[in-house]
Protein backbone atom coordinates (compact mmCIF):
# COMPACT_ATOMS: atom_id res chain seq x y z
CA UNK A 1 0.00 0.00 0.00
CA UNK A 2 1.24 3.48 -0.79
CA UNK A 3 0.70 6.42 1.47
CA UNK A 4 -1.12 9.44 0.19
CA UNK A 5 1.07 12.50 -0.42
CA UNK A 6 -0.60 14.47 2.39
CA UNK A 7 0.13 11.67 4.87
CA UNK A 8 3.75 11.62 3.75
CA UNK A 9 4.07 15.37 4.13
CA UNK A 10 2.83 15.25 7.75
CA UNK A 11 4.97 12.20 8.40
CA UNK A 12 8.14 13.85 7.09
CA UNK A 13 7.42 17.24 8.63
CA UNK A 14 5.06 16.66 11.51
CA UNK A 15 3.63 19.84 12.96
CA UNK A 16 3.58 20.60 16.68
CA UNK A 17 5.55 17.61 17.96
CA UNK A 18 6.39 17.89 21.64
CA UNK A 19 4.91 18.32 25.08
CA UNK A 20 3.55 20.96 27.43
CA UNK A 21 3.78 20.76 31.19
CA UNK A 22 0.94 18.41 32.11
CA UNK A 23 0.49 20.08 35.49
CA UNK A 24 -0.12 23.55 34.04
CA UNK A 25 -3.65 24.80 34.65
CA UNK A 26 -4.20 25.96 31.09
CA UNK A 27 -3.08 22.64 29.58
CA UNK A 28 -5.27 19.64 28.82
CA UNK A 29 -3.74 16.24 28.06
CA UNK A 30 -5.31 13.32 26.25
CA UNK A 31 -3.58 9.97 26.01
CA UNK A 32 -5.22 7.32 23.84
CA UNK A 33 -4.25 4.05 22.26
CA UNK A 34 -5.38 1.55 19.65
CA UNK A 35 -4.99 -1.95 21.05
CA UNK A 36 -5.44 -3.50 17.59
CA UNK A 37 -2.01 -2.24 16.61
CA UNK A 38 -0.50 -1.01 19.89
CA UNK A 39 -0.22 2.62 18.78
CA UNK A 40 -0.14 5.27 21.50
CA UNK A 41 -0.86 8.97 21.05
CA UNK A 42 -0.64 11.96 23.38
CA UNK A 43 -2.28 15.23 22.41
CA UNK A 44 -2.14 18.41 24.48
CA UNK A 45 -3.96 21.70 24.18
CA UNK A 46 -3.08 25.05 25.70
CA UNK A 47 -5.86 27.60 26.15
CA UNK A 48 -6.08 31.29 26.95
CA UNK A 49 -8.45 32.86 29.49
CA UNK A 50 -11.30 32.81 26.92
CA UNK A 51 -10.93 29.08 26.43
CA UNK A 52 -9.53 29.47 22.96
CA UNK A 53 -6.94 26.91 22.01
CA UNK A 54 -3.79 28.92 21.44
CA UNK A 55 -1.39 26.05 20.91
CA UNK A 56 -1.29 22.27 20.64
CA UNK A 57 1.34 19.53 20.82
CA UNK A 58 1.39 15.83 20.16
CA UNK A 59 3.51 12.75 20.39
CA UNK A 60 2.49 9.66 18.48
CA UNK A 61 4.14 6.29 18.55
CA UNK A 62 2.69 4.38 15.67
CA UNK A 63 2.39 4.20 11.93
CA UNK A 64 2.59 7.06 9.44
CA UNK A 65 -1.18 7.50 9.41
CA UNK A 66 -1.32 7.86 13.19
CA UNK A 67 1.39 10.52 13.08
CA UNK A 68 -0.25 12.34 10.18
CA UNK A 69 -3.70 12.22 11.84
CA UNK A 70 -2.44 13.71 15.09
CA UNK A 71 -0.27 16.27 13.31
CA UNK A 72 -3.26 17.43 11.28
CA UNK A 73 -5.48 17.42 14.38
CA UNK A 74 -3.14 19.79 16.24
CA UNK A 75 -3.11 22.11 13.22
CA UNK A 76 -6.88 22.15 13.00
CA UNK A 77 -7.65 22.81 16.67
CA UNK A 78 -5.34 25.80 17.01
CA UNK A 79 -7.40 29.00 17.25
CA UNK A 80 -10.63 27.11 17.89
CA UNK A 81 -12.81 27.29 20.98
CA UNK A 82 -13.19 24.06 22.99
CA UNK A 83 -16.69 23.60 21.62
CA UNK A 84 -15.49 24.02 18.05
CA UNK A 85 -12.63 21.61 18.60
CA UNK A 86 -15.06 19.01 19.94
CA UNK A 87 -16.88 19.10 16.62
CA UNK A 88 -13.91 17.71 14.69
CA UNK A 89 -14.80 14.26 13.41
CA UNK A 90 -12.47 11.44 12.59
CA UNK A 91 -14.08 11.26 9.15
CA UNK A 92 -12.95 14.83 8.45
CA UNK A 93 -9.37 13.88 9.28
CA UNK A 94 -9.58 10.64 7.30
CA UNK A 95 -10.96 12.32 4.18
CA UNK A 96 -8.43 15.17 4.33
CA UNK A 97 -5.62 12.60 4.46
CA UNK A 98 -7.40 10.13 2.13
CA UNK A 99 -6.86 7.34 4.65
CA UNK A 100 -7.77 3.85 3.42
CA UNK A 101 -10.32 1.82 5.47
CA UNK A 102 -7.61 -0.17 7.31
CA UNK A 103 -6.19 3.11 8.64
CA UNK A 104 -9.49 4.61 9.77
CA UNK A 105 -8.70 3.77 13.38
CA UNK A 106 -5.76 6.20 13.26
CA UNK A 107 -8.14 9.09 12.64
CA UNK A 108 -10.44 7.79 15.39
CA UNK A 109 -7.44 7.90 17.70
CA UNK A 110 -6.83 11.57 16.86
CA UNK A 111 -10.48 12.49 17.43
CA UNK A 112 -10.51 10.65 20.77
CA UNK A 113 -7.28 12.34 21.80
CA UNK A 114 -8.76 15.81 21.18
CA UNK A 115 -11.86 14.92 23.23
CA UNK A 116 -9.79 13.50 26.08
CA UNK A 117 -7.55 16.56 26.17
CA UNK A 118 -10.60 18.83 26.38
CA UNK A 119 -12.16 16.67 29.11
CA UNK A 120 -8.92 16.79 31.06
CA UNK A 121 -8.80 20.57 30.83
CA UNK A 122 -12.43 20.96 31.85
CA UNK A 123 -11.89 18.64 34.81
CA UNK A 124 -8.98 20.79 35.94
CA UNK A 125 -11.02 23.98 35.61
CA UNK A 126 -13.99 22.48 37.48
CA UNK A 127 -11.68 21.49 40.30
CA UNK A 128 -10.31 24.99 40.34
CA UNK A 129 -13.74 26.54 40.63
CA UNK A 130 -14.57 24.33 43.57
CA UNK A 131 -11.60 25.49 45.55
Amino acid sequence: MRYNEKVLEHYRNPKNVGSFDEQAENVGTGIVGAPECGDVMKLQIQVNENNHIVDARFKAYGCGSAIASSSLATEWIKGKTLDEAKQIKNTDIASELALPPVKMHCSVLAENAIKKAIEDLQRKKAKDNNK
Partner: protein, 206 residues
Protein backbone atom coordinates in the same frame (compact mmCIF):
# COMPACT_ATOMS: atom_id res chain seq x y z
CA UNK B 1 1.52 -33.58 31.68
CA UNK B 2 -1.10 -36.19 31.11
CA UNK B 3 -2.32 -36.19 27.55
CA UNK B 4 -5.48 -37.83 26.62
CA UNK B 5 -7.46 -38.32 23.53
CA UNK B 6 -10.58 -36.26 23.73
CA UNK B 7 -11.90 -37.11 20.38
CA UNK B 8 -13.44 -40.49 21.14
CA UNK B 9 -14.92 -41.06 17.71
CA UNK B 10 -14.42 -43.80 15.23
CA UNK B 11 -13.81 -43.38 11.54
CA UNK B 12 -17.02 -43.72 9.57
CA UNK B 13 -15.10 -45.44 6.77
CA UNK B 14 -12.90 -48.01 8.54
CA UNK B 15 -14.13 -47.83 12.14
CA UNK B 16 -10.64 -47.13 13.54
CA UNK B 17 -10.21 -44.93 16.61
CA UNK B 18 -9.56 -41.31 15.59
CA UNK B 19 -7.76 -38.58 17.53
CA UNK B 20 -8.74 -35.70 15.29
CA UNK B 21 -11.95 -35.06 13.39
CA UNK B 22 -10.09 -33.95 10.24
CA UNK B 23 -8.46 -37.22 9.19
CA UNK B 24 -8.40 -40.91 10.02
CA UNK B 25 -4.82 -41.96 10.73
CA UNK B 26 -5.71 -45.50 9.78
CA UNK B 27 -7.28 -45.22 6.32
CA UNK B 28 -6.25 -41.57 5.68
CA UNK B 29 -9.77 -40.53 4.81
CA UNK B 30 -10.20 -36.76 5.06
CA UNK B 31 -13.28 -35.28 6.66
CA UNK B 32 -14.86 -31.98 5.84
CA UNK B 33 -15.16 -30.63 9.35
CA UNK B 34 -17.98 -28.37 10.31
CA UNK B 35 -17.10 -24.80 11.08
CA UNK B 36 -17.86 -25.16 14.76
CA UNK B 37 -14.98 -27.54 15.41
CA UNK B 38 -12.55 -25.47 17.44
CA UNK B 39 -8.76 -25.63 17.18
CA UNK B 40 -8.43 -27.62 20.40
CA UNK B 41 -10.76 -30.33 19.13
CA UNK B 42 -8.86 -30.44 15.82
CA UNK B 43 -5.83 -31.67 17.75
CA UNK B 44 -7.83 -33.87 20.11
CA UNK B 45 -7.26 -31.57 23.08
CA UNK B 46 -9.62 -30.41 25.76
CA UNK B 47 -10.67 -26.78 25.39
CA UNK B 48 -8.51 -25.26 28.11
CA UNK B 49 -5.51 -22.99 28.42
CA UNK B 50 -2.84 -25.43 29.58
CA UNK B 51 -1.78 -27.74 26.80
CA UNK B 52 1.20 -30.01 26.36
CA UNK B 53 3.21 -28.12 23.75
CA UNK B 54 5.36 -31.11 22.82
CA UNK B 55 2.30 -33.21 22.26
CA UNK B 56 0.73 -30.37 20.24
CA UNK B 57 3.76 -30.25 17.97
CA UNK B 58 3.78 -34.03 17.61
CA UNK B 59 0.13 -34.09 16.64
CA UNK B 60 0.55 -31.17 14.29
CA UNK B 61 3.34 -32.93 12.41
CA UNK B 62 1.42 -36.19 12.31
CA UNK B 63 -1.80 -34.57 11.09
CA UNK B 64 0.04 -32.41 8.55
CA UNK B 65 1.62 -35.52 7.12
CA UNK B 66 -1.68 -37.40 6.91
CA UNK B 67 -3.51 -34.47 5.35
CA UNK B 68 -0.69 -33.25 3.09
CA UNK B 69 -1.76 -32.55 -0.51
CA UNK B 70 1.14 -34.70 -1.79
CA UNK B 71 -0.45 -37.76 -0.25
CA UNK B 72 -3.77 -36.99 -1.85
CA UNK B 73 -2.60 -35.95 -5.29
CA UNK B 74 -4.03 -39.11 -6.86
CA UNK B 75 -7.39 -38.63 -5.18
CA UNK B 76 -10.38 -37.07 -6.87
CA UNK B 77 -10.40 -33.32 -7.22
CA UNK B 78 -12.66 -32.55 -4.29
CA UNK B 79 -10.50 -34.61 -1.92
CA UNK B 80 -7.44 -32.77 -3.20
CA UNK B 81 -9.21 -29.48 -2.49
CA UNK B 82 -10.19 -30.71 0.95
CA UNK B 83 -6.60 -31.67 1.66
CA UNK B 84 -5.44 -28.14 0.92
CA UNK B 85 -8.26 -26.63 2.91
CA UNK B 86 -7.55 -28.76 5.99
CA UNK B 87 -3.80 -28.11 5.69
CA UNK B 88 -4.43 -24.40 5.81
CA UNK B 89 -6.77 -24.78 8.79
CA UNK B 90 -4.21 -26.92 10.60
CA UNK B 91 -1.51 -24.30 10.08
CA UNK B 92 -3.82 -21.61 11.38
CA UNK B 93 -4.79 -23.74 14.37
CA UNK B 94 -1.19 -24.59 15.21
CA UNK B 95 -0.07 -21.00 14.95
CA UNK B 96 -2.83 -19.99 17.37
CA UNK B 97 -2.41 -22.77 19.92
CA UNK B 98 1.39 -22.82 20.01
CA UNK B 99 1.57 -19.17 21.10
CA UNK B 100 0.21 -18.75 24.65
CA UNK B 101 -0.94 -15.17 24.07
CA UNK B 102 -2.78 -16.10 20.87
CA UNK B 103 -4.17 -19.14 22.67
CA UNK B 104 -5.54 -16.94 25.47
CA UNK B 105 -7.00 -14.55 22.88
CA UNK B 106 -8.62 -17.48 21.08
CA UNK B 107 -10.06 -18.93 24.31
CA UNK B 108 -11.51 -15.53 25.13
CA UNK B 109 -13.20 -15.40 21.73
CA UNK B 110 -14.54 -18.95 22.17
CA UNK B 111 -15.99 -18.00 25.55
CA UNK B 112 -17.86 -15.12 23.93
CA UNK B 113 -15.54 -12.41 25.17
CA UNK B 114 -15.04 -9.10 23.32
CA UNK B 115 -12.29 -8.52 20.75
CA UNK B 116 -9.86 -5.59 20.85
CA UNK B 117 -11.99 -3.57 18.48
CA UNK B 118 -15.08 -3.83 20.68
CA UNK B 119 -13.36 -3.31 24.00
CA UNK B 120 -10.29 -1.08 23.92
CA UNK B 121 -9.91 -0.73 27.67
CA UNK B 122 -6.49 -0.93 29.27
CA UNK B 123 -5.36 -1.18 32.89
CA UNK B 124 -5.45 2.22 34.55
CA UNK B 125 -2.34 4.34 34.05
CA UNK B 126 -0.86 1.91 31.55
CA UNK B 127 -0.79 4.26 28.55
CA UNK B 128 0.85 7.15 30.43
CA UNK B 129 3.40 4.69 31.80
CA UNK B 130 4.11 3.31 28.30
CA UNK B 131 4.59 6.86 27.00
CA UNK B 132 6.82 7.70 29.93
CA UNK B 133 9.03 4.65 29.36
CA UNK B 134 9.29 5.39 25.67
CA UNK B 135 10.16 9.04 26.16
CA UNK B 136 12.70 8.29 28.88
CA UNK B 137 14.29 5.65 26.68
CA UNK B 138 14.62 8.02 23.76
CA UNK B 139 16.04 10.68 26.03
CA UNK B 140 18.58 8.31 27.60
CA UNK B 141 19.55 7.05 24.17
CA UNK B 142 20.15 10.57 22.91
CA UNK B 143 22.38 11.15 25.95
CA UNK B 144 24.21 7.88 25.33
CA UNK B 145 23.31 6.90 28.89
CA UNK B 146 23.80 3.15 28.77
CA UNK B 147 23.01 2.56 32.45
CA UNK B 148 19.68 4.33 32.04
CA UNK B 149 18.67 2.56 28.81
CA UNK B 150 19.48 -0.79 30.44
CA UNK B 151 17.41 0.15 33.46
CA UNK B 152 14.43 1.06 31.25
CA UNK B 153 14.81 -2.15 29.25
CA UNK B 154 14.70 -4.05 32.53
CA UNK B 155 11.50 -2.25 33.61
CA UNK B 156 9.88 -3.12 30.29
CA UNK B 157 10.94 -6.73 30.60
CA UNK B 158 9.41 -6.96 34.07
CA UNK B 159 6.19 -5.31 32.91
CA UNK B 160 5.98 -7.73 29.98
CA UNK B 161 6.52 -10.78 32.17
CA UNK B 162 4.05 -9.66 34.80
CA UNK B 163 1.38 -8.96 32.21
CA UNK B 164 1.94 -12.32 30.52
CA UNK B 165 1.67 -14.14 33.83
CA UNK B 166 -1.56 -12.30 34.58
CA UNK B 167 -2.95 -13.29 31.16
CA UNK B 168 -2.04 -16.94 31.67
CA UNK B 169 -3.61 -16.97 35.11
CA UNK B 170 -6.85 -15.40 33.83
CA UNK B 171 -6.96 -17.69 30.79
CA UNK B 172 -6.72 -20.71 33.10
CA UNK B 173 -9.67 -19.46 35.15
CA UNK B 174 -11.67 -18.94 31.97
CA UNK B 175 -11.79 -22.68 31.79
CA UNK B 176 -14.05 -23.04 34.81
CA UNK B 177 -17.77 -23.10 34.06
CA UNK B 178 -18.52 -20.28 36.50
CA UNK B 179 -16.61 -17.71 34.51
CA UNK B 180 -18.26 -14.36 34.59
CA UNK B 181 -18.16 -11.17 32.58
CA UNK B 182 -15.70 -9.44 34.87
CA UNK B 183 -13.15 -12.18 34.24
CA UNK B 184 -13.59 -11.80 30.51
CA UNK B 185 -13.23 -8.02 30.59
CA UNK B 186 -10.16 -8.29 32.81
CA UNK B 187 -8.58 -10.72 30.35
CA UNK B 188 -9.48 -8.41 27.45
CA UNK B 189 -7.83 -5.53 29.28
CA UNK B 190 -4.62 -7.49 29.87
CA UNK B 191 -4.55 -8.75 26.28
CA UNK B 192 -4.88 -5.15 25.09
CA UNK B 193 -2.08 -4.16 27.46
CA UNK B 194 0.33 -6.78 26.14
CA UNK B 195 0.05 -5.37 22.60
CA UNK B 196 1.24 -1.95 23.72
CA UNK B 197 3.94 -3.54 25.85
CA UNK B 198 5.14 -5.77 23.01
CA UNK B 199 5.31 -2.78 20.67
CA UNK B 200 7.43 -0.97 23.20
CA UNK B 201 9.57 -4.05 23.83
CA UNK B 202 10.26 -4.37 20.11
CA UNK B 203 11.20 -0.70 19.98
CA UNK B 204 13.81 -1.04 22.72
CA UNK B 205 14.93 -4.52 21.61
CA UNK B 206 13.88 -6.47 24.67
Amino acid sequence: METQNLYPHRCSKCNAQMFSPVVCQSCQTLFDIERDVDYFTMFGFERKFDIDSEELEKRFIELSRLVHPDFHSNDVDNVMMLSMQITSELNQAYETLSDPIKRAEYLLALSGGPDAEKDKSTPEELLPYILHLRESFEFAQAQDDKAKTDEIRQSIKVLKEQTEQRIFQLARELNSPSNDNSLRSELRKQLNAIRYINNLARFVNV
